[in-house]
Amino acid sequence: MTDISEFVDKCIEKHGKFLVPILQDIQERFNYLPEEALREVANRLKIPLVDVYGVATFYKSFSFVPKGRHVITVCLGTACHVRGGRRIVDAISRELKINPGETTPDLNFTLETVYCLGCCALGPVVVIDGKYWGHMTPNKVLSIIRRMREEAKQA
């Protein structure tokens, strides 16, 4: 038995027939949804693969390609939008040469956008690897990213 099928076993044991939490655990463990895992889930739950695929593609938190080591999430909720959230996304896109939803070829960074994290008073907000940064400007976020790159190089 492979790693993947063993893990899928555990998920099904834990969540039974509830598909979304099963996929969430797989996403968390592998950082994406490997095709083999989805096939395994469909087999084990005795549901067509297309239904698993239909659910997996519906939600934003699932990904079919591995995410980068660092995940940068820019909030584009209404409050962040009126305070210039879009400019932050553009600045990061330019710096990393990727669009939202993409990962840099060296797998270092993934850029994502989200509609509202609920800390609107701090807008524009950027979350980098789970840490929240408030009152962002294009320049501030670029200096954080450049520092992370330097650290990655040294490590």
Binding site: V55, A79, L117, G123
Partner: protein, 615 residues
């Protein structure tokens, strides 16, 4: 803690916990809401812990981390009880001084809130204008208790309403909720008591209840703060509801984007179960009920009740035709009562204080209070709870303090992507379900986004349309294609490529999408377009006829230039320009090469002299 099996047990436990809760004279409460946490409030907590220990004050001071205090703009917030001294923007370095002064009965002046209108320093929470006009019911315990402690909740009167409810007949509870006039706080405003009654009347051996915390509206975080700051109030409301309806199982559906709310809700359910407030034979009543937490995976449409139920079942969450309503045929085909977080959280207060008390607050048709997240171009961003019927003007100016930097407020957007933009002229409108619908908006779940003269209304409509086209589930053509085409027309307008006929087409399309879509998402999707067209048509026309964006937002229609009079040649803009579009020698006025400029606005951010002009 020992499992409690009767109401007498619960009251005995409460007395014990109250003694413990009151044992220490001073209580320091640090806000641990997501907003304050991102502002290093947990470091402030650590600093307090360390300092209290080193001063040997552990027996005198009770240190607590609470849920959201609401005044997020001023975070991290620290409140000292019993006096209710309010400290704002507290840093870990401030802690020794706060404690040193506290032991001498003094306050730290520089950390007090200053009234921007009078310049006066304000010492107490209740004197601050932001709080003075609020009426806090659902949020009443948010800044008082530690949300991870069921003991705090019980000590402050928690689960008292449950004890009372279990001694009532289910029909009496439903009657009380009906009489209170409570309406769904998710936004649609369906009478809660009636929904419970319909679910109760269904003939079925199994019934379910669901708490909807899939708060997807951008710019809204009321539900998150309630579940994060006082999860037991939601659980208590759900147990009472389940008893009244005759359900034995409930679900709380939370967005995955709210990790802290998931954590606190999960912990609270666990604690309630351990204590015997969930599970078999609750407080010896013979009634059994349990709750499971379900995490969303990121889809706005899951806030729609039928989609949410499909999501729990593990199916692709597309809304389905109603009737049958979930109350008749819901989760796994069984009668299911689904209510919003704040609806459930209101229930214990209504049961405890009575329907007459609740219905004395608010207007004729909208009873009680409403929690709003007041955000955008407003001085006092934050979470507020106000009586229904308060005017938009009071909300935006008296509580919100108006727009920052002396700008003029132009409009508010109420009700999330399904709501509408209400212009300043209509700010004397009372906030109730009917009045908001009349002007083309809706109550919605409670996001209020303030917009000032620098907000472009066409861009705002485009923003919401992009959101909605991305989030449309794709089931019905009118919504899937309609939102996409409306987005394209709006994009053309913001790029100066549209004609006046396009405006007509946009209006026509908006009305078709409204009439022909299956669920609330599609039916209300045109609201932002229709209200901006209704109240701000001249802004649309400026984009179309004059190829001009009056607010200076739409990239294709604006130009960045440097005012040679104001430019000192400090070179900051040239150094920071990401595309090398700025030229000039140090100490001489600079200029922008228009062909190269990508209008990112960084030059304006870094200019300390206001020399970069957008026209």
């Amino acid at each position: 803690m020992r499992r409690i099996t009767s109401i007498a047990d619960l009251e005995a436990l409460r007395r014990k916990l109250q003694e413990k809760y009151r044992a220490k004279k001073l209580r320091i409460i640090v806000c641990g809401g997501t907003g304050c946490r991102s502002n290093r409030s947990m470091e402030v907590v650590e600093a307090f812990k360390k300092e209290i220990k080193s001063l040997g004050l552990e027996n005198k001071i009770d240190l607590k981390v609470s849920g959201c205090h609401g005044f997020c703009e001023r975070g991290p917030i620290v409140v000292i009880h019993p006096e209710q001294i309010f400290y704002q923007r507290v840093k870990p370095e401030d802690v020794p001084e706060i404690l040193e002064r506290l032991t001498r009965g003094e306050v730290v002046d520089r950390l007090l809130y200053e009234d921007p209108n009078t310049g006066r320093k304000i010492k107490h929470v209740y004197e601050i204008p932001f709080y003075a006009k609020q009426k806090r019911i659902v949020l009443s315990k948010n800044g008082l208790i530690d949300p991870t402690s069921i003991e705090d909740y019980i000590a402050t009167g928690g689960y008292k309403a449950l004890a009372k409810a279990l001694q009532m007949k289910p029909e009496e509870i439903i009657e009380e909720i009906k009489r209170s006039g409570l309406r769904g706080r998710g936004g649609a405003g369906f009478p809660t008591g009636k929904k419970w009654e319909i679910t109760r009347m269904q003939k079925s051996d199994v019934k379910y209840i669901v708490c909807n915390c899939d708060e997807g509206d951008p710019g809204a975080y009321m539900d998150r703060s309630v579940l994060e700051g006082n999860p037991h109030s939601v659980i208590e409301g759900m147990i009472i509801g389940a008893y009244a309806i005759g359900a034995n199982k409930g679900w709380i559906y939370v967005r995955y984007e709210y990790p802290l709310a998931v954590k606190h809700a999960t912990l609270a359910v666990h604690q309630a179960r351990e204590l015997g407030l969930l599970g078999e034979n609750i407080l010896g009543s013979g009634f059994s009920f349990d709750i499971e937490i379900v995490k969303g995976a990121g889809a706005f449409v899951c806030g729609e009740e039928t989609a949410l139920l499909q999501s729990i079942e593990g199916k692709r969450p597309s809304p389905r035709q109603r009737p049958p309503y979930p109350a008749e045929k819901g989760l796994f085909g069984k009668p299911t009562c689904i209510n919003n977080v704040k609806t459930w959280a209101n229930v214990p207060y209504i049961i405890e204080r009575g329907a007459d008390w609740f219905s004395s607050i608010g207007t004729k048709t909208s009873k009680g209070t409403k929690v709003f997240s007041l955000v955008g171009k407003v001085k006092n961003s934050g979470l507020v709870e106000v009586p229904m019927g308060i005017t938009i003007r009071e909300l935006v100016y008296d509580i919100g303090g108006g727009a920052p930097d002396g700008k003029k407020v132009k409009a508010v957007q109420i009700g999330g992507p399904s709501g509408g933009c209400i212009p300043e002229e209509l700010f004397d409108l009372p906030i109730d379900y009917e009045s908001l619908t009349e002007v083309g908006s809706m109550m919605g779940s409670g996001g209020v986004i303030v917009m000032d003269e620098n907000t472009c209304m066409v861009d705002t409509a485009k923003y919401f349309m992009k959101f909605l086209k991305d989030e449309s589930c794709g089931k019905c053509v009118s919504c899937r294609e309609g939102t996409q085409r409306m987005y394209e027309i709006l994009s053309d307008i913001t790029e100066g490529k549209a004609s006046e006929e396009d405006l007509q087409l946009l209006e026509e399309l908006a009305n078709v999408v409204k009439d022909a879509s299956l669920c609330g998402l599609g039916q209300t999707a045109p609201n932002p377009v229709l209200t901006t067209l209704r109240y701000f048509r001249e802004e649309y026309l400026a984009h179309i006829r004059e190829k001009r964006c009056p607010a200076g937002v739409c990239k294709a229609l604006i130009k960045y230039t440097i005012d040679p009079e104001k430019c000192t040649g400090c070179d900051a803009c040239r150094i920071n320009c990401p595309v090398g579009a700025i030229t000039g020698k140090p100490k001489e006025p600079h200029s922008i090469i228009q062909e190269k400029c990508i209008k990112c606005g960084i030059c304006r951010d870094v200019c300390k002299f206001g020399a970069v002009i957008v026209s």
